[in-house]
Structures are given as C-alpha cells and as structure tokens.
Symmetry: C2
Subunit: 467 residues, 2 copies
C-alpha cells in the first residue's frame, strides 16, 4: 500500500475492498486500512490530543456521542495539539521560574539559540538545507521580509505576478510593497485569472503570463497550495519560468508545509514563508517559517536588519558593525520567542519519526478514499473544485455547493454530528484529512455524516415529522 | 512615603532611619521599609516566582543558602515569571485540546480577538489611549514597521537622528531603512554624541542637533531609557524639537515600559515600540508592543499591510479591498500568537492592581536607597554612570568599573552570593530594582554582597589563606 505518486491510490483502495469482499464504502474497509497502516511511522494519531464531541459547540449529543472523539478534518486551518506540547511548554516555564535570565545560556535548550532546535526538522519538511531556513515572526511578516529582499523594482522591471484569487493577506502585502516603492499597485500588480467558467489555473497559463510579462516582471508570488481550491501548483515549472525572464519566485507555503512533499532547494525557489499552525500543529498564531535559497546567502541582499541577524560571536558587541550570519539566519531580527518555539518543537518531534514522502503516500490514499466515498454525490449536491490529479493537490478537497444557504445548512448539520471542517465564503466546505493524524475511519465517518447532512438539508427533520 | 518626583526620596529614607535610631545602611531600615510598604498595591512581589539560589549556576552554597530566594535585580533584561502565567498558558492549551480550531471563536477569551485582552492595560502603562496601541510581533520588527510609516525620505529631508551609543539592533534598523530607500547610511545617519569625556547626553545638545539638522531631518529615534547608562531622556522636549523642524519622533521604549511613567499620547510621540520581556515580565522572547499616535490614524499612512489590519467585519472576505481598522490595529499583519499573548496578560493583570505613577514613586525610593548604600564605594571601586537626578533615570543604576577584568571578577563574586545582575561589555554592571517586585531587602543584600565581592576581588581568598 504505497501510492507514492497517487496514481495507483484508487485502485489500491478498490483492491483492498475486493480482498475483503466488501464495497469500498463499507466501514470494514476503513477498519482494515487503519489497522494495516497504524504501525507505520506515517501514522502518528496517538501523538495528538483529539477533541471529543463533548467540547464542541454545535454538536447534538444524540448524533455525536459526547465521549467520542470528534472527526477533525480541519488541520488546514488549525492542526491538533501534540500530546507533548504541554510538557515542553511547562519545561520552559520551569526554567524561567528556576533560573530567570540565566535560562538564556543554561540547560539543554538555552533560550538564546533556542531556534536551533527547530531548524533541521523544519528544513527537512520543506526540502531545504538547514542553512536556508529560519523560524521566526509570522507568515505575513516573513512575506514582507522576502519582498524587501527580492522585490527591487528598477526601471520597467517592477511587476508582481500573483494569482487573482490570492489569500487576502498576501494581496495586501503585494499592494503595500508596491506603495513602499512609490508605485501605483494598479500599474504593477499582475493577477493571473482562471479561464472563464473555471476555478483552477493551468500551469501553461501561468507560464504564458510570465513570459508575456517578460522583463517587466520583478517577482512571481503564489500560494503553493491554494487555500480555497486546494490546487497544488507546479512550483518547479513556475519558478523556472520566473527565472527565465529574470524575475524572482517567492512561495507562500501556508497550506503546503506538512501537507505535500516540498523540495524548495531543488526547485530553486528564491524565497518562501509559511505558518506553523496548520499542518505543522504548533498552535494558534504559531511562529512562522522562512526560507531563502542558499545561492542568495552572503550576497549583501537588502534586508530589514536586526541584532539577531548578526553572527552569534559579535551579536552582543553593540559596536554598530553589521556582520550578519552567512545563511538565512541573517534575516532574523529579534531574540526568539521561547514558548512559541517549543510549541513547534513538540510537533517537529513527531514529524521526525517519519518523512514527508511517507506522509504524502499516506495522504494520497486518504484523499483518494474521501474522493471515492463521495463520488456519487458529485454533480448532484455538490462539486469538488480541487484538482482530480493527485499530484496537483494536497490532502484537502474543497466541496462547492450550489448556494451559500445550502452550504451553511450542510455545515451546521455536519457540526451536529461531530464533524469539524471549515466553511469559506460563499459556498465552499474544505475537508482536509491531515496525513499525520487523520484515519480512514475519520474519512468514513465524515462521508456518512455528509450523506445524513445532505438529506437533512433537503428534507429538514421538522418537516418530516409534520408529514 | 511618597517621593512622587524623586527629589525627596533620599531625605525620606534618612528620616526613616533616624526614626528607627539606625544608620540608613542598617538592615533594620530595609526590614522596616519592606514591612511598611508591603501592603501597598505597588508591592506585588507575592505575585511572582522568585528563583531560589539552588537553581542558579555560579552560586556558592556557603555564601548563598540554596533554599533562599536569590536577589534578582535584572528585570531590565528578563522580568520574573508571574505566578499566574502557567495557569493562563495552561488554559489556552486546554482550549486547543478541547476545541481545536473552534477556540478562535469560543469561550471567554476567543483567539481571534485575543489581543484585545492586553490592549487596555498596555495602553495604561505607556500613557496611551487604547486605540493607539497594538500588541504584536517583536520590538525590532515593530521598529521597522514604524519606520516604514514615518521615515519617508523626500528630497533633502532624509536624515535619521539617533544616539551614538544606540542599542545595536536599533542602529541596524536605521541603517537598513536608509538602504531600503536607496540611501547611503553614511549620508543620512546622524548620531548625537556625548560631550568629550562624558557618558550622558544633555537634552540641550540633542535639541541643538535637531535644530542644526533642520529640514534635512526626517526622523528622531532614541531609546527612551538608555540601555547602558540608564539615562531617561526628556521625551517631551525632544519630540517637540523634532516636530519643530518637521521631523517625526519614534521612541524605543524597551527599557522604559513598566519602569517609568510614560505619557506617550500627551507628549505627542508619533510612534513607539517596546518589548514585554523586561519590566513587563511576559517571558523570554515575549510579544512586542507598538504605539501610533491617534493623530496619525486613518490618514492613509504607508504601512506594511496584512489581513489582520483589516476591519474585523471584512477580514475574512478575501476580496482584496484594503479597508483597514481606523486605529493602531491597522498596523497588525498576522493572527495573534495565543501563548505569547496570555503570557503577557498574566503580567498585565498584576500591573492593573496599581498604576505606573505609584510604581514610579516606589521605584524612586528603591533606587535612591541603592544609591545611598553604595555612595561610599563610588570613586574608589566604581562609578555610577547613570544620572543622579531621579527624573533623568529609571530604576537602573549602571556601575562602571575601572577595568573589564575587575568588573568581571566582581560579577562572578556577586554570582557566588546569589546576586543576579547583568554585565555589559566592557566594564559595566547594571543593577535594576524592578519596582513591581524588588524589595528594600533585595537592595540591602545586594549592597552587602557587593562589599564582600569587592573585597574578595581586591584580595582573593586563595591569596589570603596563603598569607
Ligand atoms: C533598547 C533595546 N532595543 C531593542 C532591543 C531588541 O529587542 P528584540 O530582540 O526584542 O527585537 C533590545 C533588547 O534587549 C533593547 O534593549
Ligand atoms: C495562504 C495563506 N497565506 C497567508 C496567511 C496569513 O497568515 P498569518 O496570519 O499567519 O500571517 C494564511 C492564513 O491562514 C494563509 O492561509
């Protein structure tokens, strides 16, 4: 059961069902798959705290037993808490209570260089060398820092190519970066739109837009996995196209990190940023991730400087001689936030037991399973706007409803059943089986609940009892 | 015992000693003062976890009883942990475990607007209106954000006036902001130096430098309380001088917040930033503070934008229409870091029991007491480089030694005795009785240990036994 490239995932699932003499939709298949895969390093559900239905507002105890675990399929928004988080956070509070300021230099995990504990594994997850990664700030701050270094409008080379449906925060960053250089966003922002009547972008359209922009293009910046549609862009081809016209490629990996098997270094990406609260499970408002390709290190690129970018040996000299680290650490500004850093560490410890390639294999099976189990609903109640091709998506499927009202009603009916997914205006429900902790049973329960929910929405219980 | 303006502090201390029939250096005076003041709201020692000598590396059990509290005089570097921090952090971990993503909108302290819990008290501490404060990022990031808004070089108005001995990180920020605008730092950075042979700056020299720079000046940026000397600048006069030549005034309040009684709004400061890990006790790498004066709100100032700067009602619309908050909240970029925010909240709850004006009164007594008790050492073993005038300093006294070696040896001898202070290259020891939790006994113990330490350094124990 490998499905490394996702192509064989559906037939593997069908074969497993056949071997059991069951339909693929039978719960036995989910049980069988969970049992079969549970001992693989890629299945780390036990390392997480799964909320029970009891805690969730909106659940109906008759439909979602209070003492049972909920079906949490929203790791694309906030990942679950690792069981070790509390312990690691507690250890830092202990050190602070016991040692005060001396914690900066004392013990196993001194605070001064505490980010060193989260670099190696972060780098492994995004396919980077250690020297290319910093863990700091938050996503949008890091995106601005990348723009300061890579968006250097000069003469007619001043445009930013982005995706017309970009995440709002990214768009505001583009706009304000243009203004920072005294440019009118209307003249320099270059959105790539989907073809009429389509939701997804074609790689060739993006590449064509890049070529058309030519030497007017300064930066290409896209979300690696699109937050709304779940489309996973072809980072390598788009980056290559950007370079071919002399532009830089910056990637927002918010929905990609911990979800797909990134190779930022190999793909020659110039800069990337991500948040660690989604598939990285570091908690609400977690610390951000930051990548600058090795080839840009120690080149005197402009950046917003702070003392933490100095070489460690001279950092406390206070002599006003800028002598930065020769790697991505040069972009750091401030001393690291300790609780935030160990909150990430708790999750990275779990990731270190497996690899992104193993997780991607597991993920492709889970998402193919989800797709199979809702196949008969598609076209009737909903459509799936996420690409069908497994290599063009991550774990998330985005279900689109005809109307906002039916979407919201379905969402509420799912909530009653202990299903945690998320709604995006106007009419999309995002369903994301996180490879690290979601199970085939989670997906099966979701699909059962979805059928019930759709029926309830079509024929509300109040009406039924009246008949 | 009020000493509101600090002028009467020394005579009040002398009077208290006289009433006891003791010398001011007698431990009875410390005991008496601690007892007398312990029930005032400004004495909150009980709300903090004071490390014991046991935990501290470098202590000698014969000189510092392991089960006794250490003498922690380094709140200027890292404040002590409030007793409630663990509970508040634990509550957020509970919510995450119980509710997952729903914690963003559920419960007493939903995460989405969690920063609202720390705005009002932060504003009170810096003398601002609520609308003028944001709690986000880290100090150096916030300093850059202020420069993006207020440093807008235009024609010959492009200079940044700062203090020649500015904290390194601030200097690097100035330099990189100049470069961001394509300017050569050598042409635009304008340091104000102390007079030959002096350590401190004269307000009139700063004001004269501002006037001399005239309309070449874009921004004045100083540390409100100088990190090395402890000098507390005259914010109001310097800000006024900056405005008189058409420049903006930005203040780095790292060493001022929670230490002195700031009036950022009243003093017409344009922008300010601070860290919350020093006198604000929010823990290592704590979240930063940010101030923009009301008069600059909703004026379309340039800023580095992110979705969290949007009005709450439209923040999730994703429609690319920049519609920012009409207050300092417009400068926020990312969703708030939850653990960091409640870690600050734990400390702000303590501050809310008192006022900065009360704390400043207590602080002036404590620091005057420290000054009195070491008066006879000054000129012999060390000098105090901090201003004598109480209104020109915060709680910190900076003790300067003749040589780096004697400074380091004294520091080590203090450490053996359970005294936690800090050393700054080359030859300064900073001693900071934090108004909120340090006691007169802390100061007394420090002074006793200092005498022993100086003696030990002058005549090392090894030598003495040989004689
Ligand atoms: C005066 C001053 N400014 C700036 C900083 C830098 O702070 P951060 O690392 O939080 O950005 C410090 C840190 O101690 C400081 O004392
Ligand atoms: C694709 C994408 N980009 C950017 C952001 C903004 O993140 P932050 O608030 O951490 O800056 C998000 C947040 O969900 C996101 O999904």
């Amino acid at each position: 059961l490998a499905a490394k490239n996702g192509i064989g995932a559906k037939s593997e699932l069908q074969a497993a069902a056949q071997a059991l003499g069951a339909s693929v939709a039978a719960v036995e298949v989910a049980d069988h798959l969970d049992k079969k895969l549970q001992d693989l390093a890629s299945c780390q559900r036990k390392a997480f705290l799964v909320p029970s239905n009891r805690g969730l507002s909106g659940t109906d105890p008759a439909l979602a037993r209070p003492d049972e675990e909920c079906v949490y399929l929203v790791g694309n928004s906030l990942g679950l808490q690792p069981a070790r988080t509390r312990e690691l956070v507690g250890e830092e509070l202990d050190k602070w209570a016991k040692w005060g300021v001396n914690g900066h230099f004392t013990g196993d995990r001194p605070w001064m260089p505490i980010d060193e504990n989260v670099i190696e594994q972060s780098a492994a997850i995004v396919g980077a060398e250690k020297s290319e990664v910093a863990v700091m700030n938050s996503l949008t701050v890091n995106l601005h820092l990348l723009f300061v270094s890579f968006y250097r409008p000069a003469g007619q080379r001043n445009r930013i190519l982005y995706e017309a449906s970009a995440f709002g925060s990214d768009y505001f960053a583009f706009e304000s970066q243009a203004r920072l250089h005294g440019l009118d966003p209307r003249n320099v922002l270059l959105p790539v739109k989907a073809r009429p009547g389509e939701e997804l972008l074609h790689t060739e359209d993006i590449v064509a837009a890049i070529h058309a922009a030519g030497d007017s293009l300064a930066v290409v910046c896209l979300g690696t996995v699109q937050y709304y549609t779940g489309q996973y862009f072809d980072v390598e081809s788009i980056t290559k196209a950007a370079h071919a016209v002399g532009a830089k490629a910056i990637w927002d990996c918010a929905h990609a990190v911990g979800n797909v098997d990134l190779k930022l270094h190999q793909w020659d990406v110039d800069g990337a940023c991500w948040c660690n609260y989604k598939y990285l499970n570091a908690g609400p408002g977690a610390i951000g991730g930051f990548f600058v390709h090795k080839k840009h290190h120690d080149q005197g690129l402009p950046l917003l400087a702070g003392w933490w970018g100095q070489k460690q040996a001279v950092r406390f000299n206070m002599d006003h001689k800028w002598d930065p680290e020769v790697d991505a650490g040069a972009w750091r500004l401030s001393n690291p936030p300790v609780l935030q850093t160990v909150s990430l560490l708790a999750s990275l410890e779990i990731f270190s037991r497996t690899t992104m390639s193993e997780l991607r294999g597991r993920s492709m099976l889970l998402t193919a399973y989800l797709e199979l189990l809702i196949a008969d609903l598609v076209g009737k109640h909903l459509s799936v706007i996420t690409p069908e091709c497994p290599s063009s998506r991550g774990c998330q499927l985005s279900l689109k409803f005809q109307e906002e009202s039916s979407c919201l009603a379905t969402f509420a009916a799912l909530e009653k059943r202990g299903i945690v997914v998320d709604h995006r205006k106007p009419n999309v429900i995002r369903v994301a089986p996180a490879p690290l902790y979601n199970s085939f049973n989670d997906v099966h329960k979701f699909c059962t609940a979805l059928r019930e929910a759709l029926q309830e929405v079509a024929e509300p219980p109040a009406k039924r009892t009246k008949v």
